[in-house]
Amino acid sequence: MDINESFAKAEQILAPWTGVATHPAPDRMDVVIPAKSLVEAVTALVEAKWGYLSAITGLDHPGSTEPASEALRWQRLTEEIEAPSDEESREGTLEALYHFCEGAAILTLRVRVRYTSSALPTICNIQPAATLYEREIMELFGVTIVGTPNSERLLLSDDWPEGVYPLRKSFTSLKELDVVKGKETK
């Protein structure tokens, strides 16, 4: 199928939930959607048999390093994150990218959640193959996937400290973590 045709179809399917749709490259379409409508959007895609889930990428946006303009842009795009107070605007967000592929076309659903309210609904009921990807971002980014079939400690070793997410930017190494903790306890 032609790329443009695919995208036109996807646009139509996702219209009810689309915050904003962009084409960062000819073969890509990024659709920003609010976290609460993720399941509906994925269901619509799967029911329309639009491609297959290729991967879920996690991204970490630490509040302090992200330019303010970027954070503002996100507020406008999703309305999910309400106008932050000064303190809140420093809080980081986590982004999950759901990549769907059909032929050459890659459709990315982008959802964002805050560090403190990092809940995302599971899509395993619609796409059973998503379970591995969901576990991956739970483990590495600390996104809480609500209702995923298995939410145990998955990726990291059993003695990995609770609440430490290695792919977040704030994580550098376990050794340093101990040093910081040591200081805190002193």
Partner: protein
């Protein structure tokens, strides 16, 4: 009378993390009733290395070599997926000769990987002779790769903006000669795996995965193509030199292990054809073009058809000389679900072959993901899966 008291106890056969069937660490637990498998679960993560995090702390150039070491068998696919992505971000146009040589390496790597797989799969089925012969013949392509790049694995052929190694006429002739020999051998092996009755006894109707199941389970690569699912990034979204040298899609509708053998061997023929074509029409020109050390800000997705299936890279740059995020989704990861689901209902003896059928690569998986499945709640029974499939496609 006693039957209820002696309710059948679960008899679990553990396979791995250290087991002769698995040369790489993974842990499987198969619940068996006699010889029949009634449940399966998997736990990976024994070779988790944190490469994605490591990438964020190294420069773009250093990352090529780190990512190349995700997997020893499809190393060039990883490096190519990465450099293609970075070049897209940097808006660098790579000379056509470099793209063609990259593709040449990709196809040689596919041949090496498929021959390796043929041997491993035969070994799992207790056919050591086929194992030895296919690995012996694989040496031909390994030698070609060594002559081209100086290394048998981890060729390090890619640099940002091109390739390191050129192919001259003398080497091209050597490759052609090797390919001719391998083509003859591939015909022979195709004949063996499709006609040898003892081997067919181990592969025919084993590990059946219908097209519907393949779609539901998100299978990719040769595993999916053996179920008739036409999914191949080289065809769907041509990259590198596949635009100029198009690939014919190879599928099979046998859906079982025989199909997986046939698809992989037929893919070899396609690779031979492609390699000859590339060698005959190698574009002239430079090998490299200048690529900046600091990559402009942006995000990109790069997909490459590795020997095992679609390899997915997501790259994000923040404008510095180090990537902001490198996400790797390896093909084996997509195919695990199929193994776990296909195992149920088979003989214990068939499990190694079904496992081998998807050509699993543990190093690929464990780069960042572990699966643990103790309760079996995630394991779908045959019936559940079918119900799901029926409901899904109502």
């Amino acid at each position: 009378m006693n039957e209820q008291v002696n309710a059948p106890k679960k008899f679990i056969v553990p396979i791995g993390p250290q087991h002769p069937a698995l040369k790489e660490p993974g842990h499987f637990e198969f619940t068996v009733d006699g010889e029949i498998v009634t449940g399966a679960s998997v736990r990976l993560g024994y070779v988790h290395r944190g490469i994605e995090k490591g990438c964020e702390q190294r420069s773009w150039i250093q990352d090529i070599y780190l990512l190349e070491r995700i997997c020893g068998i499809c190393s060039h696919s990883h490096a190519t997926a990465f450099v293609l992505g970075v070049e897209k971000l940097a808006k660098v146009t790579v000379p056509p000769r470099a793209q063609a040589i990259r593709t040449l390496f990709l196809e040689l790597e596919r041949i090496h990987s498929h021959f390796l797989w043929l041997g491993v799969a035969a070994h799992e089925g207790g056919f050591d002779t086929l194992f030895m012969y296919s690995w012996r013949d694989r040496e031909t392509v390994m030698d070609i790769l060594e002559n081209l790049s100086g290394n048998r694995v981890n060729y390090s052929a890619n640099v940002l903006g091109g390739v390191k190694y050129d192919v001259d006429e003398k080497q091209a002739d050597e490759i052609r000669k090797g390919i001719d020999f391998l083509e003859e051998r591939a015909h022979y092996y195709l004949n063996v795996v499709t006609t040898d009755e003892t081997f067919l006894g181990r592969t025919r109707h084993i590990g059946l995965m219908s097209l519907e199941q393949a779609v539901t389970l998100d299978a990719i690569g040769p595993t999916a193509r053996a179920s008739g699912l036409a999914r191949d990034v080289r065809v769907d979204a041509p990259y590198a030199a596949y635009v100029d040298f198009p690939v014919k899609l190879v599928t099979d509708d046998r859906c079982d292990l025989v199909g997986r053998f046939v698809v992989r061997i037929n893919e070899l023929f396609e690779s031979y054809r492609l390699i000859r074509e590339i060698l005959d029409h190698l574009p002239a020109g430079d090998l490299t073009t200048k690529c900046p050390r600091r990559i402009p800000e942006g995000e990109t997705i790069s997909r490459v058809e590795a020997p095992r299936g679609e390899l997915f890279y997501f790259l994000k740059s923040n404008g510095s000389d180090k990537p902001e995020r490198v996400k790797v989704r390896t093909p084996s990861l997509c195919n695990w679900a199929s193994v776990i689901n296909l195992a149920v209902g088979h003989n214990l003896a068939d499990i190694p072959m079904i496992l081998a059928g998807i050509d699993p690569c543990f190093s690929c998986n464990d780069r960042s993901v572990t699966i643990r499945n103790p309760g079996g709640s995630q394991v779908w029974s045959w019936e559940e899966l079918r119900r799901y499939g029926i409901e899904h496609y109502k």
